[in-house]
Structures are given as C-alpha cells and as structure tokens.
Amino acid sequence: MAATLGARPAPGRGRARARHRLAVLGFMAPAIIGFVLFFGYPLVATVVFSFTKYDLINAPEFNGLDNYTFMFKDPLLIKAITNTLWFVVVLTIARTVFALGVASVIARLKSGVGLIRTLCYLPSLAPPVAATLVFFMVMRPNGGPLDSVLGWFGLDSPLWFSDPGWAKPGITAIMLWISGDLMIIILAAILDVPQEQYEAAELDGAGPIRRWWHVTLPTISPVLLFGVVNSVILALQLFTQAVVAGSAGSGAADATGSTKYLGFPDNSTLTFPVYLYTQGFRYFDMGYAAAMATVLFIISFAVTIVLVQRMRKNSSAEEGGPGA
C-alpha cells in the first residue's frame, strides 16, 4: 500500500478517471445549465441591476449606491419590511404548529383517514388567487358565512381585510387553510416513527402526551425544521394572497392595472415582495426593485443558513447520542 502511495497512476487509469468525470459532468450538464441559466444568471443580473437606474426599456445606467441609500428615506419600505417580518414570525410558527397538529390528529385516526387526509390536503391544490377570493367571501363581514355563524352567538366578525389590525391575521388564516402540503410531509414523518419506540415508552409508563413529546417530536424534528425553513421562505415571498386580499378588501378585486389598490388597508398587506413588484413594474424603477431583491436574497440566505446549521447540529447530536 505504502509503495503505491507516491506512484503516478497508470496512464490508462488516468484516462478512465477523466472519462468517468466527463460522463458524470455530461449527466449533470442539464442540471448545471439550468442552474446557471435560471438561478445563477438572474441572481448576478439582479445584483448588477441594483447598482443601476433601469426603467425596463432602456439600457441600465450605473448609479452607484443610489438605490441602496434611497432605502433609508423610503417610508413604505420600512412598512413593507415590518409586514414581512410579522409574517416570518407569526406565519412560520402558526403554519408549522397547525400542520403538526392536524398531522398528529390524522395519524391517530382509526377510520376515515383517507377521506380526512384528502380533505385537509385539497385546499393546497387550489390556485392561490381563487383560494384567497373564496376565503375572502367566506370571511366577509355583513352577511358572509363566517359572520352569520358568529352572529348566532351574538358576536361580530372582525373586519378581516378592511381593518389594518386584522388583515395580516386574515392572510395567515388563508395560508393555514392551504398548508396541506406541509401537513402531508409531517404526517409521513409521524407515520415513519418506529413503532418499537412507542412500545418501549409505553412499557416505561409514558402516556399518549409524553409519548408524543418524547418520541414523536424528537424523531420528526428534522422534518419540522424543514417545515420551518419552508415557511420562512414562504413568508418572505408572500405575494399573491397579499395582493388579492388587499384588492378585494378595497373593493377592487376585479379591477385592472393601477386601479388595484395594493397594500390595502393602510399598507398592512404591503409585503416586501408586493412593494418590490410595485417599484419594478408600476413605478418602473427596476434598479431599486433589484436592490430590494438583493436585500431580500441576503436575508433569506442568512436565515436559511442559520436554520440549516441548526438542523445539522440537531441531527449530529441525535446520531451521536448523549455525550456525543
């Protein structure tokens, strides 16, 4: 073994290795080309545009850090960041907990599992615009179905998409309704927990809650962390539901162009991506929109890195066991 360490590989083996590498590269080429064209190039282009004045029609003109410095005197940007941070915190927690709760209940059902699982998953297949409009109609005050139900108990429905204080919770409710995709993933993880672990815990005298807390939760924690990362990204990119809910709230869901009132009510639904779109495509300032997109990318990237590192740490701690 030692004798071969310093020896040069035989020319035949070198050629074979090169051929192997080429073959691997050939198989990977479609993915690499796709990545470069549809992720790498747009990303670099966005960063480049962020240092330019660009109206979408004429060639961009370099304007240094103007777009970034303007961010500090743009009152709507602060509002958009605040709204998005609200969604990152509230929506992430609510969506993960909700999907976990529904999945945990379904996992314990003895009959009708298939039907209930399908019913819980179905809303996530609805087109976002249609889903939001349906939800808007259901939650509409003064005669909407939810308002009528609340009326039976002598309660008034909140002004979901008309009151700045309720608009974000309203959108969060829509997002929970369509969180069936995450629920299915968590359900699969719960069903994948080895049965022996439950049996061992039961022998040790653990009840259902302690079994769920000490067996289910630790075992599915990597999937939950995936759910958290997925929800954070979803919250950072929240667009369609915010635009449709805001427009419907302002009575202009069926209007076109600039008669749509984005951010209604009182800019409470003006998320970072909605404002980015507004700057780029309604105010024709793609340079500023690109600067905003760059900031959003850096924040998303940083949050994802932190969460993934946390996930890896958790996984290695689990693999190593106590004291590892």
């Binding site: 109206d55 060639a59 009575g251 984005l262």
Partner: protein
C-alpha cells in the same frame, strides 16, 4: 484560491455581458422619422394587443375590422387580456405588437419618456393631423412633456350618480351642486339601524374605494398636482386640504368604525353586487360606463346623473377624464401600418361612434360627439355634455406610474382614520416623498 477568483471573475464578466445584451434588446424601428404607410398591395398582418375581454373584446375587434375598408390587404390579429406588464415584457423580449392599447393612463409618462411607445409627432406632422379635434384634457393625458407617444381610443368621463327613489324619499329635490349640498344630501339619505349600523350610506367618502380615487376627485376640489416649478403641490394647493377635511367631516358623521364595517360588507366594483346596484349607497362618483352596467345588472334602480358637486359654485361642471390609449411600441414590425390603424381608430367618426355605442364610452373627437348616430339617453347625456365642455381635467402625467396616486390615497386613508394629527405637515411629507420618487427616476 486563485483559480476560484479567476472563475468568479469570469462568471461576473459573462453575467455582465449577458445582462447588457438582455437590457439592450427590444430595439427596432427608428423613431427619427415616420415609417411609410403600407401600399395597397402590401400583404401584412397587424398585431394589436389590448386588455379587453368578453363582450368588450368583441366590440373592439369589430371596430378594428373596419380598418379593412381602407386597407383590405391588411389582416388584423387582436389579442385581448394583455396588460401593461405584458406590453413591457413584449417590448423587452422583442415580441412586440404593432399597436398596443393600454387602460393605464398612469403609465403614459413612462411610455413616452422611456421610448416604450414611439413618438407620433413625425406621423402627425407628415399627415397634417388636426389634434384640435380632441379636447385639451384628453390631449394632455396622451403625451408627456410635449412628447406625444399615444392617441386616445374613446374616453371615460366621471360624474355623479344618484338614486332617484332614495332622493325623493329623503326629500332631496335636486342633485347637489356644491360640497355643502352634498354633505346635507348625504346625511339626509343615510339610514342607520337602531344599533348604529349603517344600512344605507348617502355618500361614501372612503378614499380608494370604488371610483373614490384622488385623480378622479381632484378636479371637483380644484386640487392641483404640480406647482409651477414641477414639484408636488399637495400642501400648497388648498383643494387637497379642503378635500381631506370634507371627507373627514363625513367620516365623522358616520363614525369611522361603523363606516368601515358597512364598507367592508359591500360588493366589488365591477360586480353585480356593487353597492349602488344594491341600493346601499345613494350618491357616488363614477364613469359613464356605469350606465351600461346599471342597465344590464340592476334595471330596477332608477338613477340620474349630474356633474359632481364642486367646492365652489363657479367650478360646477368640471370633471375628470381618462381613457384607453393607443401607441406603437418600440420594435413594432409594421410601424407605418400601425400608425394608419391608430389614425383610423382616433379619427374615423363612424368607427368611433359605433365603438362608443358598443362599449358605452365617450367618443374622443368632437365630430363623433356631435354625430346623430351616437346613442345618447338622459343619463349618458351628462357625460357627453361634460366632455364637450372646456372644464375637463385629465390624468396627471408623471414618470413614476401611479406612485403619487398611491401616496395621496394612503395618506387620505390614514387621515380619515384619525391617525394624522397635523394635516398640513402630513401633506408636506407626502409632497416630499413624491418629489423624491420623481427625482430618483431622473426624468
């Protein structure tokens, strides 16, 4: 490490090159001069993009086909449901229509200043087109800083709609003409339940709701958008302060919370569930197209129309106007033929009148408004009379899309909700934000 640096530099250089290439796309025909009109034997297809759909799409297609009487050799391909985002994307990608129809006059500043729509002056000069056939306000919203890059295809004129039955039941004998009269009428027409809930609102003052947009309301208060030196004039033009105060006074009459609860339950603007169709509001501002909606969707509503009340009596009869605009996008393959089509749609009286009758819009030329073929009933006459007057005011044209309109709407909503302690200071702040945004655009 050095290898990595070199690779990274190469990547950035490649990206910059690609970016420059992509950004430079969309060029095409020259805008220096007018392209020649097509010959009688030239076979070509003109592509027209518009945002029309359903019945209106059919009517516009019919109008486009009338062009074949002059040019039977030109085939017209009309693609509907194309908004401004798609037009811009088409120009950038080189997949441009020959004629683009846009509903969004807020974008004319961008279209003209960026060259997205080609300059029409060479064509107008060459063909000695008399633009005086079109009213000054309509001419204003189809050009930017003297650069005419679009022509109007019909117009929308805004006025007051009132429910006749509700008015007579409340003892309001005449449509209000001033804001004071409007306030009195609104309070008389409002019906509240014993628990304070609003059942019918005389007039809904909420900014941003239905046609309560600052652009549409500004003429009634003589509120100017710009100072003489081109700065935002919200704080310096007294009309804005008066508008905000009037709206706030009405909001306070209803009670903000009660008003918001009432408003939140109203139907969407272009649905049959519209509050005026449902008899939930008695007076409103809207465009002439609402006459057709009301007749089709709410024939039981007996309504009248009149100029919207104004702050001062001598301003009565003023109105806001906007409309569909037509332009030749940068990179259009047949600009000469495109201009002929635009000219036809802009000035052929029979075509304009038929289209106006079809989609219930106001014709954009004086000749078409005088045509005996134009279907004018009692309600529609108000809009024709306003369009013929010299008191029309057009859409404010800026290079920042509707950023200024959103800024005023946002502020007004905050003010109505009682969140703004100092109205003048707030308006000055909005002025500054609008000026900053325009300065950033560099146009």
């Amino acid at each position: 490490m050095r290898k990595h640096t070199r690779a990274a530099l190469l990547c950035v250089a490649a990206a910059l090159t690609l970016t420059a290439c992509a950004a430079g796309k969309g060029g095409g025909s020259s805008t220096d001069g007018a392209a020649a009109a097509p010959g009688k034997d030239d076979k070509l297809t003109l592509t027209v993009w518009s945002n029309y759909s359903d019945r209106e799409y059919e009517e516009v297609t019919k109008a486009l086909k009338t062009f074949n009487k002059k040019f039977p050799n030109i085939e017209i391909k009309h693609e509907g449901s194309q908004d401004d985002d798609k037009i811009t994307a088409g120009i950038r990608s080189g997949n441009t229509p020959d004629v683009a129809l846009s509903f969004t006059t807020d974008n004319i500043g961008q279209f003209c200043s960026s060259g997205a729509f080609q300059a029409l002056k060479p064509y107008i000069d060459r063909d000695k087109v008399d633009l005086n056939q079109i009213s000054p306000a309509v001419r204003e919203y189809t050009e930017y800083k003297g650069n005419r890059c679009a022509m109007p295809m019909l117009t929308d004129v805004y006025a007051m709609y009132y429910n006749k039955d509700m008015m007579s039941a409340a003892g309001v004998t005449n449509p209000p003409k001033t804001m004071d009269e409007l306030y009195d009428a609104a309070t008389k027409l409002t019906k509240k339940a014993p628990n304070g809930d609003i059942e019918v609102a005389g007039y809904l003052p909420t900014m941003g709701f239905y046609a309560n947009r600052p652009t549409i309301l500004a003429p009634s208060y003589d509120a100017a958008w710009e100072t003489a030196d081109g700065k935002s004039a919200l704080a310096s033009s007294p009309g804005w302060t008066e508008m905000m105060k009037f709206q706030k006074k009405l909001v306070d009459f209803y009670g903000y919370d009660a008003l918001e609860r009432f408003r939140a339950g109203l139907g969407q603007e272009y649905s049959a569930d519209h509050a005026f169709h449902q008899g939930k509001i008695a007076i409103m501002m809207d465009g002439e197209y609402r006459t057709a909606f009301l007749k089709a969707q709410a024939p039981q509503i007996k309504f009248g129309t009149a100029p919207f009340p104004t702050l001062k009596a001598d301003q009565y009869g003023t109105a806001f106007t906007t409309g569909t605009i037509m332009g030749i996008p940068k990179g259009a393959k047949n600009p000469g033929a495109a201009w002929e089509l635009i000219k036809h749609l802009s000035f052929d009286t029979d075509t304009i009148v038929d289209l106006a009758n079809g989609i219930k819009n106001v014709p954009s030329t004086k000749a078409a408004m005088e045509s005996s073929k134009l279907e004018v009933d009692e309600q529609f006459k108000t809009f024709i009379d306003l369009a013929k007057s010299n008191k029309l005011k057009g859409n404010p044209v800026t290079p920042i899309g509707d950023a200024h309109i959103k800024a005023v709407t946002d502020f007004s909503v905050s003010y109505q909700s009682g969140k703004v302690p100092d109205l003048q200071a707030g308006l000055k702040e909005v002025d500054k934000n609008i000026d900053d945004q325009i300065a950033k655009s560099g146009k």
